[in-house]
Symmetry: C2
Subunit: 414 residues, 2 copies
């Protein structure tokens, strides 16, 4: 029997997930989407029908749920008889949704680590603070839980695994994420500003010489000359995948680099220096308690509102260095996506697109059994080839440059 | 009988007013200070006694009052039998305090125009929107009300009057305010951030060719080479005194220029562009209604906390151009103040000092009868010479450069 899918969340990424599930609903059973605000789910399903995205006849129902209430999520999973839950709600809900999956036996897929609202950038490896504490339970109960199955983390973990599989020894993994697109606004973040800024206000952890090292945001930068987007300045940033890759490949240096323009850095620096990115409440002169970061979020454009005007391309990839047969080898495994094409296909901008397509590919592999691991896995612990095969078909083709960035360019399976 | 003084407010300027009243309490009766938070008043009076600032024996009592409650202020004025009220509370309380003075017969002195919290930068001339509507009542009842008797507005209005009195015709008045001091923080405003930013987010009104013209903040800038502080970039800004001077001297062009460094402009531009300086509430994702500007205020340093580390000087003056006996003449009338000296004398930084000393000089002239006008006056409508004589003695000496900025330099009465 085909597996029913429940999507948790109704933001820009959820919009992509919904469209992609619909476009591939021949491999799924009934589709469901739930969030705190049901009207947002209704709008997403309406856009799915408007684009005539359902591949075959089927249902796509909407629900209201408080995703931080495990019992409520458990009830909903049982009510709709979901066998796969794709959690693309806020980063604050992961553990509640995961626990509901463990309770009901549904497979769990997410795209980013769990965070507690009042904590930023906990001790590495991040997954050990929350998700990995449930690994033994998942194994005992035979629950499939795929962590961090967006693009980064997610596809880039598979890129690393793919490259490492072709080497005898891996020495370093540098993940580079360049958004060379333009949204035409004074300033905006590409996904939830609260999560976006939280990512950059804490310590930047990276793994070198088999230990955790620390730097701070924008302290370590270099220019990367990537395919299609060209030379772009990127800075070492804290990112989920560093924490699982460093654990699974402790012999390799693992770093994450994110591209930022000078304008972004200036705005970020002003806000951070003033204390406006703080997740800790302040008290106004009138005595109102307010979290500054939530006010910054309130004045910034809704990331999903950027989609219609967004132009340009993203390039995200892994430069993996190692040895093969005693010789140094380098592979750059990457994808290029286009903002405008994403909008035309699913009504979202490219950043949401790259984040939302991969968890659907993962869900299709759970549905087919290929990734139905019956335990908890990060993406690099799963075979990347069936994942790439699906991603090629559903919008995020994988390419490789042999010898490093700028080397011979080909499809991953050419 | 000597006149009792009631100070309204307990911020950085109130601290200076309290010290200066104490230092000159031989011309006053009992001293009182009241604000929403009595403990702030207690701290100010404690600092007065710590510096042994009371010139002669006398009382200095503290009170709690909601200055936006005319009845409460009226009761307090009657209770303490105040004949002079120096209002250095927030700009939102003026009309309530003024009405209480009209009710009780006390003289009223303030240092800035009335503002309503939800409105920014109303139509010119600003005084006509609120204060001047009470002028006829003040005249009928014989109430002395001296508007805008800080430094700017205030002393600079007297500077203009002093220069114009030496001319047959005035052609232009350019007021230049340069703070060349350093507070050593990443960013801070020198007085209440809410008022400070409100001043710069609206239309910049100025008076040229006998009509109101408009520009926007930082659109019109030039470098002024002022005494002591040297060449400094200043930008046309909206300011209270432009509105009264243009009304009283309609034949003259009237402009106000405030000095800003590139760093201030960058921070301001980022905050304004993002909408964080808005006085209009926004709603967070959690549904909390918040005024962004109040949150910015909450994260910035308390202006009074800057005082101990503040170094450097301010120069504020009027370049007045006109004709005398058929020839073009120029006078630059100015003061230079020192942040560190201000702190050592009264425990405040220079910006609070320059704003807080003049209303006490005005109160001394009301007490002596010289400025007890029995109607409503802006400072340029009063004789500047006794004002300068007192300011010379109590810490803000007036100097003049003949022939314009950089010309022969002398004391105003030399």
């Amino acid at each position: 029997m085909k597996k029913n899918v429940l999507i948790i969340g109704a933001g820009g990424v959820a919009q992509v997930v919904a469209h992609k599930c619909a476009q591939n609903n021949d491999v799924f059973g009934a589709l469901h989407i739930a969030s705190r605000t049901k009207s947002k789910c209704d709008a997403i399903v309406a856009s799915v029908h408007e684009k005539k995205a359902m591949k075959v006849d089927g249902t796509f129902d909407t629900h209201e749920v408080n995703a931080r209430d495990t019992a409520a999520v458990t009830d909903l999973i049982r009510k709709v008889d979901a066998q796969i839950v794709i959690n693309v709600g806020s980063a604050f809900v992961n553990m509640y949704v995961l626990d509901a999956c463990i309770e009901t036996g549904a497979a769990y897929i997410d795209t980013a680590i769990h965070e507690e609202p009042e904590k930023i950038c906990e001790t590495p490896p991040w997954y050990a603070n929350y998700e990995w504490k449930r690994r033994d339970t998942c194994t005992e109960k035979g629950i499939t839980a795929i962590l961090g199955a967006g693009f980064d983390p997610g596809v880039v973990n598979a890129y690393a695994r793919f490259a490492i599989d072709q080497m005898d020894e891996v020495k370093s993994i540098d993940i580079v994420d360049i958004n060379a697109g333009s949204h035409g606004r004074y300033f905006a973040t590409n996904f939830d500003p609260e999560i976006n800024f939280r990512e950059f206000t804490g310590t930047v952890y990276y793994w070198e010489d088999q230990k955790w090292k620390e730097t701070s945001m924008f302290a370590s930068g270099k220019t990367w000359d990537l395919p299609v987007v060209g030379p772009s300045k990127a800075y070492q940033s804290g990112h989920d995948e560093v924490h699982s890759l460093a654990t699974n490949y402790p012999q390799a240096d693992v770093r994450f680099w994110m591209g930022f323009g000078d304008h972004y850095i200036n705005v970020f620096t002003v806000l951070k220096s003033l204390g406006l990115l703080s997740e800790q409440p302040v008290k106004t002169a009138e005595g109102q308690e307010v979290v500054p970061l939530k006010v910054v979020k309130a004045v910034l454009p809704d990331p999903s509102s950027l989609a219609p005007d967004y132009t340009g391309k993203t390039c995200i990839g892994d430069l993996v260095k190692g040895t093969k047969d005693g010789k140094d080898v380098e592979l750059f495994v990457y994808n290029v996506a286009d903002h405008k094409e994403a909008y035309e296909e699913v009504g979202s901008q490219g950043i949401s697109y790259t984040a939302g397509v991969p968890p659907v590919a993962a869900a299709m592999l759970v549905a087919s059994g290929e990734w139905d691991a019956k335990t908890m896995k990060n993406v690099e612990e799963l075979d990347p080839k069936p994942f790439f095969t699906i991603l090629d078909k559903i919008g995020l083709p994988t390419r490789v440059q042999i010898g490093g960035i700028g080397g011979e360019d080909k499809a991953w399976n050419a």
